[in-house]
């Protein structure tokens, strides 16, 4: 298959201004410019055109993964990353490139009007090139979006597990819902950090709202209890349901040295006793 011809390249070079103007117009009508400053867009379009010309000059148009296209690929990665952060969807992001097709095809049509065979070939090549670049943009856009989603998931995890202060020196972590290993880990880490921040001597992990635990989660719990002890605080586990107790015994996990209480109230009572605090009814 033939590559893009030097004449095509030259035509692009000499008509840059026209291409840019038509492209910008196309972008605007397609709605791909929403939320983007006009100045930024102008800079992006002209930089892209420069890069595509440079890419054609030192590489062939059939393989955009070749080193000659490094710069343009990096440019597109940066572009799609910023688009993802702006909240644009993949279609809007990809239209940035696809909107160049119209003006470029018009240019080629004009340039090769005497040679239909060559025109068809060059159109095909240009189309292939822009498609490949567009695909690359979508791929990297997807990656950026995944990174955004991953970060949001982590933030959600932290939000969904509040560590509450029950008394001066007593923290509680009421765990609700199914525990997976990742969530347990995040929760435990934030509990440990809060122990240091508040100087609390006793931490109560309440698992009343947890329907079941598996081996991994039970192990995480035990590891947390040990880590809390290493830091110099004490840990009480409250609200162990019969099914969970059975699981723990069945799994052969050693709960030696772990203090367990039937419910949160009993755990708090024990914590207060340990701190030498008595609570009584006012007459």
């Amino acid at each position: 298959m033939a590559a893009l011809q030097t004449t095509t390249l030259n035509a692009m070079k000499t008509n840059q201004a026209q291409l840019l103007a038509d492209w910008a117009h196309g972008l605007e009508t397609s709605g791909a410019t929403r939320n983007i400053k006009e100045l930024d867009l102008k800079q992006q379009t002209s930089e892209f055109l420069q890069l595509i010309i440079a890419g054609l000059e030192n590489g062939n148009s059939q393989n955009v993964a070749a080193p000659g296209w490094d710069e343009i690929r990096q440019f597109l990665e940066k572009l799609s990353h910023s688009r993802a952060l702006l909240g644009q969807d993949s279609q809007q992001t990809a239209s940035f490139i696809f909107a160049l097709k119209g003006p470029l095809f018009a240019l080629l049509q004009n340039h090769y009007q005497d040679d239909p065979a060559l025109l068809a070939e060059q159109l095909w090549e240009a189309s292939e090139l822009l498609d490949a670049l567009g695909m690359h943009t979508i791929r990297t856009f997807q990656k950026s979006r995944e990174a955004v989603i991953k970060r949001q998931q982590e933030e959600l995890l932290e939000l969904s597990t509040p560590v509450v202060k029950l008394w001066d020196g007593v923290l509680a972590l009421p765990m609700i819902g199914t525990l997976d290993s990742q969530r347990t880990q995040v929760v435990m880490e934030s509990l440990l950090q809060r122990i240091v921040d508040t100087g609390s001597e006793i931490a109560i992990i309440d698992i009343t709202g947890v329907p079941t635990v598996d081996t991994l989660v039970a192990q995480h719990l035990l590891k947390t209890v040990t880590a809390i002890r290493l830091m110099g605080a004490d840990c009480i586990i409250s609200g162990v349901r019969p099914q969970i107790a059975q699981t723990i015994v069945h799994l052969g996990l050693d709960l030696q040295g772990v203090v367990t209480k039937a419910n949160l109230a009993d755990a708090l009572k024990l914590a207060l006793t340990r701190l030498g605090i008595t609570v009584s009814k006012a007459d």
């Binding site: 990656k143 950026s144 995944e146 990174a147 991953k150 880490e189």
Partner: protein, 134 residues
């Protein structure tokens, strides 16, 4: 997977173990690793670098920062040309030691990282590769 940067740190004397730890800490920070993961990695480095020095008779720690999809990873290779490990299964048992340590070096380090690869040949040396992703 693309390699962002590479480098190497010799491990010959005790002070080099400290330097290897500090280097790993700096690189892990560059990768944007969470504090817990970073601490685990640095601790694994301490164990493995000590092994390289004590049992391997000295060697090197090669490092690579990797980019793959949306994540970044730090890969470290500890290599020596020492006597090697004759019985891998035994060496990977908690509490077993050929020296005077606690026998937690290799097994502990393995638990602290996501990827652990042990390559050894008696008389030729040992090569341990660990990777931790963000």
């Amino acid at each position: 997977m693309t390699v962002r940067s590479i480098g190497s740190q010799p491990i010959q004397i005790e002070q080099d173990v400290v330097l290897a730890r500090q280097m790993a800490r700096k690189l892990a920070q560059e990768c944007g690793m969470r504090l817990i993961d970073l601490t685990k990695l640095v601790t694994a480095v301490s164990e493995l670098a000590r092994n390289t020095m004590v049992y391997g008779g000295g060697g090197d720690m090669d490092w690579q920062i990797l980019d793959e999809d949306a994540r970044t990873g730090l890969r470290l290779v500890f290599r020596d040309e020492g006597p090697g490990i004759p019985d891998i299964k035994l060496a990977m048992t908690d509490g077993w030691t050929s020296g005077s340590g606690l026998g937690l070096g290799l097994t502990g380090a393995k638990r602290l990282v996501e990827e652990f690869e042990l390559d050894t040949e008696p008389g030729k040396g040992t090569r341990i590769t660990i990777t931790r992703w963000t």
